[in-house]
C-alpha cells in the first residue's frame, strides 16, 4: 500500500546538501546526475531541468509534473523525494535506480531481447504501475522500455511524467487532445486525435504502448526501427521474417500482446483486466531479475561513459526528449499496420492491394469529404475547449473577456504552428511517396512485358493515383501530429536547425512532386494509348468524345 508521506524521510531542500557524483543521462533541456545526499548519506538521482529553456506557458505543466511526482506513492512508480530551484534550474531529487532503463540494459547486455520469464516480471510490474496511475486519474502517455527503470533490488519503476495528463484536473483535459509520447509507441487513436482533432484518448492508449514495449523487450529493439519507413514497407513485403523473429514465444505471451495491440480502444483491455491475464499467473519475483539481469551488467555510469565516448549520449536514461526528436525520422504509419499474433510482429497493410480501379471517383470524393471533416473536427475541438471554459464559475462575466483573449493567443500560436506544419508536412510525406513510386515503377516494367499486361498495368496505374493521394493524405495527417510533437520539444534555440531541416525537406518535396507529375502524365498517356488500342474507356469518359471525334466510329 501507499506509504504515508509523514513517514518519508525529509530530504534537504538546498543544493549544498548534495554532492554531484556523475552525469548519467541527458535530455534536451535537462541533465540527470547521480548524487550523494550528504546529511542522509544516501545515493539519489537528480534531474536538473533548465527552467530558462522552458517557455512561460510550460511552467504550469512543470508545476503539475513536480506535484504529481510528490503525490504519487506506489512501489512501481518513480516518485520524487523533493524538488527545489537552484538558480535557473529545477532540481528533482529521486531514488536512484542503479540499473538504469530497460532500454539501456537491452542495448548493453541483451541485444536480442529478454527471455519470457524476465519479460513477465517487467510487464506485470509495469501494468501494476499503470493500474495505479489510471486509478489516480493519470494517463502516462509515454510508456516504453526507455521509461521503465530497474533498481538494485530488482524493482521495476515507471518514470517520466513529463507528458502525463490528469483526467481529474479540468485544466488539463485539453491536453488529451494534443499529442504526446514517442511516435512508434503511440496508439492509433492518439495519432488520430492529434491529427484530426477527434475525441480525446484515455487510459487505453497506455495499454497500446505497453504492447509495443513488450515487442521491444522481446526483440531487443523494435522490429525494423532502424530502417527508414519506405524501406521497411518494402522489406516487410519481400522478407517478412528477419532472423531475430525466429525466437519462439509462448501462446499466452503472444495473446497478451495481441490484446494490448487491439486497434479499437474500446475492445482493448484495461490495465486492471490485463493483470488477470494468464501470462502473469506464474510470474517469478523480483529476485529473478537480480540474478538474471543485474548480474554482470555494467553500471549506469560505465554505460553512459562508454556511449558518450562513442559519441552517442545515451538517450534513454531517464529523460528522453532527444530520443524523441531522433525517433521522428523513423516513424511509420502505425494505423496501416496489423499486429500478427502468430509471427509476433506488425504486418503492413497496403491500401492499393485491397481495391483496384473502379473506385477512382469514389476515392476522390472521399478525400474531399475527409478534408471537410477535418475542418469540422478542428472547430469542434475549439468548441469543446470553449465549453469547458464556460463551465467555470464566472460571476463577474469579465472572465469571458480574458478567455477570449486567451483563445486568441492560442489561436495565433496554432496558426503559426500550422504554417510550419504545412511546410514540414509537404516534405515529410516523401518517404511514403517514394515507396508508392516504387510500386508505380514496377507497374511500368510490367507494361513492357507484352500487350495484355500493358492493359492491366495501365488500368492499375490509373487506379493507383487516387490511392497514392490517399496515402499522402494519411501521412500528412500523421506528420501534422508529429510536428506538433517536435514543437513541444524544440524550443526557440533550435529554430535555426529546424528551419534548415524544413528547407531541405522542401527541396526534396519539390523534386518528388515534379517526379510524381511526370509519372502522372505518363500514366495518362498510357491510359490514352490503351483506350486507343481497345476502345474501352471511351464510354466511361464521354468528355473525350469531343476531342477525338474520329474514334467515335466503332
Amino acid at each position: 500500500m501507499a506509504t504515508d508521506p509523514r513517514l518519508r524521510v525529509p530530504y534537504p531542500l538546498e543544493a549544498s546538501a548534495y554532492r554531484i557524483v556523475h552525469e548519467i543521462g541527458q535530455g534536451l533541456s535537462s541533465v540527470v546526475y547521480l548524487a550523494e545526499c550528504l546529511p542522509l548519506g544516501s545515493t539519489v538521482a537528480i534531474k536538473a531541468l533548465d527552467l530558462d529553456r522552458a517557455p512561460t506557458h510550460r511552467l504550469d505543466d512543470i508545476r503539475c509534473e513536480a506535484q504529481t511526482m510528490t503525490l504519487l506513492s506506489h512501489p512501481n512508480v518513480l516518485t520524487a523525494h523533493c524538488s527545489f530551484t537552484v538558480d535557473h534550474s529545477l532540481w528533482v531529487v529521486m531514488p536512484f535506480c542503479s540499473a538504469g532503463s530497460l532500454h539501456s540494459i537491452l542495448s548493453a547486455s541483451f541485444p536480442s531481447g529478454f527471455d519470457e520469464t524476465v519479460i513477465a516480471i517487467v510487464l506485470r510490474d509495469t501494468v501494476r504501475a499503470l493500474n495505479y496511475l489510471h486509478q489516480q486519474g493519470h494517463v502516462h502517455r509515454d510508456i516504453k522500455a526507455g521509461n521503465i527503470l530497474l533498481d538494485s533490488m530488482g524493482l521495476i519503476k515507471v518514470a517520466d511524467f513529463g507528458v502525463s495528463a490528469s483526467l481529474f484536473d479540468p485544466s488539463s483535459l485539453t491536453k488529451l487532445q494534443e499529442m504526446a509520447g514517442t511516435p512508434y509507441w503511440m496508439a492509433p487513436e492518439v495519432i488520430d486525435s492529434a491529427a484530426r482533432g477527434g475525441p480525446g484518448y484515455d487510459y487505453k492508449a497506455d495499454v497500446w504502448s505497453l504492447g509495443i514495449t513488450a515487442l521491444e523487450l522481446a526483440h531487443g529493439k523494435l522490429p525494423r526501427s532502424d530502417v527508414p519507413l519506405g524501406k521497411a514497407i518494402v522489406l516487410s513485403a519481400t522478407k517478412p521474417f528477419p532472423a531475430s523473429s525466429r525466437k519462439k514465444f509462448s501462446k499466452a505471451f503472444r495473446e497478451m500482446v495481441g490484446l494490448c495491440l487491439t486497434h479499437d480502444p474500446v475492445k482493448r483491455p484495461s490495465a486492471s483486466k490485463l493483470l488477470k491475464h494468464s501470462f502473469f499467473k506464474h510470474c517469478k519475483s523480483s529476485e529473478y531479475l537480480v540474478k538474471h539481469v543485474l548480474n554482470d551488467l555494467p553500471s549506469v555510469e560505465v554505460r553512459f561513459k562508454a556511449m558518450a565516448e562513442a559519441g552517442r549520449i545515451p538517450k534513454q536514461m531517464v529523460d528522453d526528449e532527444e530520443d524523441e526528436a531522433h525517433e521522428l525520422q523513423k516513424t511509420r504509419r502505425i494505423s496501416g499496420w496489423n499486429f500478427d499474433e502468430d509471427c509476433f510482429r506488425f504486418v503492413p497493410v497496403f491500401p492499393f492491394q485491397e481495391e483496384q480501379g473502379a473506385k477512382n471517383q469514389e476515392n476522390d470524393e472521399r478525400g474531399a469529404q475527409k478534408e471537410q471533416d477535418q475542418e469540422i473536427n478542428a472547430t469542434g475541438a475549439q468548441k469543446e475547449q470553449d465549453q469547458a471554459k464556460n463551465h467555470e464559475i464566472d460571476e463577474t462575466g469579465a472572465q469571458k473577456e480574458q478567455d477570449q483573449a486567451n483563445n486568441q493567443e492560442i489561436e495565433a500560436e496554432e496558426e503559426s504552428e500550422e504554417a510550419k506544419n504545412q511546410e514540414i508536412r509537404a516534405g515529410g510525406v516523401n518517404k511514403e511517396r517514394e515507396s508508392g513510386d516504387q510500386e508505380e515503377r514496377e507497374g511500368e516494367t510490367n507494361q513492357e512485358g507484352g500487350e495484355a499486361k500493358t492493359v492491366v498495368s495501365g488500368g492499375r496505374m490509373a487506379a493507383m493515383i487516387p490511392e497514392l493521394e490517399r496515402i499522402l493524405e494519411h501521412s500528412e495527417a500523421q506528420r501534422q501530429g508529429l510536428v506538433r510533437l517536435v514543437d513541444m520539444f524544440v524550443d526557440g534555440r533550435r529554430e535555426v536547425e529546424l528551419l534548415d531541416l524544413l528547407g531541405s525537406l522542401q527541396l526534396e518535396h519539390d523534386r518528388l512532386t515534379s517526379e510524381l507529375e511526370i509519372l502522372t502524365k505518363r500514366n495518362e498517356e498510357l491510359q490514352r494509348q490503351w483506350e486507343e488500342a481497345t476502345g474501352v474507356g471511351r464510354i466511361e469518359q464521354p468528355d473525350m468524345e469531343g476531342a477525338n471525334p474520329e474514334l467515335q466510329e466503332p
Binding site: 501507499a2 506509504t3 504515508d4 508521506p5 509523514r6 525529509p10 531542500l13 538546498e14 527552467l51 530558462d52 517557455p55 512561460t56 511552467l59 504550469d60 512543470i62 508545476r63 513536480a66 506535484q67 510528490t70 503525490l71 506513492s73 523533493c82 524538488s83 527545489f84 530551484t85 538558480d87 535557473h88 529545477l90 489510471h134 489516480q136 486519474g137 481529474f168 487510459y203 484495461s270 463551465h391 467555470e392 464559475i393 460571476e395 463577474t396 469579465a398 472572465q399 473577456e401 480574458q402 524550443d491 526557440g492 534555440r493 529554430e495
Partner: protein, 340 residues
C-alpha cells in the same frame, strides 16, 4: 454466491451521511486509544473514494447529474465540508488526494442551478483561513492548495481572501523552498489577482501602497529566479488588463518602479527581459510622464537605445517588433522638461 450477501447499494445521500458520521468519530476519538480506529479510517477512505467515483464517474460509467446533485445537497446541508477539511491531516495519502478532488468538484456542482458550495463557504469563511494556512504544512499544502484554488472561483470568496490579512502571507509562501508548494502558492496568488476583474481592481485601488511595495521588494527583487520570472509576467498581466487602467497609470508614474523594471531588463535571462519589456514599454508610452521619469529615460537614453538595437525575441514576433520600434522612437524624441 458473494453477491447474495452484498448490502443494498447506498444512495449518494446515505454515503454522505455515513462519511460525516465517520468524520465525527475520527475528529473526537483521534487521540484516544480506541481499538477500532484503524478500521474506521479504512472505512472512511473507502467512502471518500465512493463519493469521488459518483462525482467523476469511473472507467465503466459517466457521472449521473441527479446523483451528483443529491450528493452535493446532502454534503452542504450539514458541516461535512468543515469536518473533512479538519480531519484531512489525519488521513492517509490516497484518502487525502480523493478528498481534495471531491471538494474541488463540489465547488462546480449546481443544485437547482445554484452553486450551493458558494453559499456554504460564505457562511463558513473561517475554512478559508485553514486552507490558506495549509501552505505552512508540507503534508497538507498541496491538498489544501488544490481545494483553495477551486473555492476562490466564487467571486465572494475571492473577495474575502483578497481583503483578508492572508494576502500578505502569499509573498513568503511563493518563496518557500519546496518547489511544488511554492509554485502552488504562486498559482493561487495569480488566480486571486486575475480571475474576478472588478474585485481585483477594487482590491488594488484600496491596497495599492503596501501591495506594490511588497510585490516589488519581495517578488520582483527576489533572489529566486523563478519568483522574479513569474512575478514580472504576472505584473504585466495585471497592469495591461483594461479593468486596471487606473492602477497602471499610478504604477508607471513612479521612478522607483521604473528603476526596478530597468534592472529586470538587464537580467541574463531572456525570458525575464522580454516580460520586463512588456511592463517597461508602458512607462515609455505613457503620454503624461512625470518629469522624474523623463529625466531618468533621458539620462539613460544612449544606453537604452544601444540595448534595444540588440534586443530581439527568439521567435519572430511582429507585435514585439512594433512595440520596440515605438519605444525606441519615443525615447529618441524625449526632451528633458527641466534643464539641468
Amino acid at each position: 454466491m458473494k453477491g447474495l450477501f452484498k448490502s443494498k447499494p447506498r444512495t449518494p445521500a446515505e454515503l454522505v451521511r455515513q462519511t460525516r458520521d465517520l468524520l465525527v468519530y475520527v475528529d473526537v476519538y483521534w487521540n484516544s486509544r480506541e481499538a477500532k480506529k484503524e478500521e474506521k479510517m479504512a472505512d472512511l477512505s473507502k467512502l471518500i473514494r465512493e463519493l469521488k467515483s459518483i462525482l467523476y464517474g469511473s472507467s465503466e460509467s459517466e457521472p449521473i447529474a441527479e446523483a451528483c446533485a443529491q450528493l452535493t445537497q446532502e454534503f452542504f446541508k450539514d458541516n461535512t465540508l468543515r469536518l473533512l477539511i479538519i480531519c484531512l491531516p489525519k488521513m492517509n495519502l490516497e484518502a487525502r488526494k480523493d478528498a481534495a478532488q471531491v471538494v474541488a468538484n463540489l465547488q462546480r456542482q449546481q443544485v437547482q442551478s445554484r452553486l450551493i458550495a458558494s453559499d456554504y463557504l460564505e457562511a463558513n469563511k473561517d475554512l478559508l483561513d485553514i486552507l490558506i494556512a495549509g501552505y505552512e504544512n508540507v503534508d497538507v499544502a498541496l491538498h489544501y492548495g488544490a481545494m483553495l484554488r477551486e473555492c476562490i472561483r466564487h467571486q465572494s470568496i475571492a473577495r474575502y481572501v483578497l481583503e483578508s490579512e492572508h494576502m500578505k502571507k502569499f509573498f513568503p509562501y511563493i518563496q518557500l523552498p519546496n518547489f511544488d508548494i511554492a509554485s502552488d502558492a504562486m498559482a493561487t496568488f495569480k488566480e486571486l489577482l486575475t480571475r474576478h476583474k472588478s474585485t481585483v481592481a477594487e482590491f488594488l485601488n484600496k491596497n495599492y501602497d503596501w501591495f506594490f511595495a511588497d510585490y516589488n521588494s519581495q517578488l520582483l527583487e527576489s533572489s529566486n529566479y523563478i519568483t522574479r520570472r513569474q512575478a514580472v509576467k504576472l505584473l504585466g498581466d495585471i497592469l495591461l488588463d483594461r479593468a486596471n487602467v487606473a492602477i497602471m497609470v499610478r504604477y508607471v508614474s513612479s521612478k522607483d518602479n521604473l528603476r526596478i523594471l530597468m534592472n529586470l531588463l538587464r537580467e541574463s535571462s531572456k525570458n525575464i527581459q522580454i516580460e520586463a519589456f512588456h511592463v517597461f514599454k508602458v512607462f515609455v508610452a505613457n503620454q503624461n510622464k512625470p518629469p522624474e521619469i523623463v529625466s531618468i529615460l533621458v539620462a539613460n537614453r544612449s544606453k537604452l537605445l544601444r540595448f534595444f538595437s540588440d534586443f530581439k525575441t527568439d521567435k519572430e514576433d511582429e507585435q514585439f517588433d512594433q512595440d520596440k520600434a515605438q519605444v525606441v522612437k519615443e525615447i529618441a524624441a524625449l526632451e528633458p522638461r527641466e534643464l539641468p
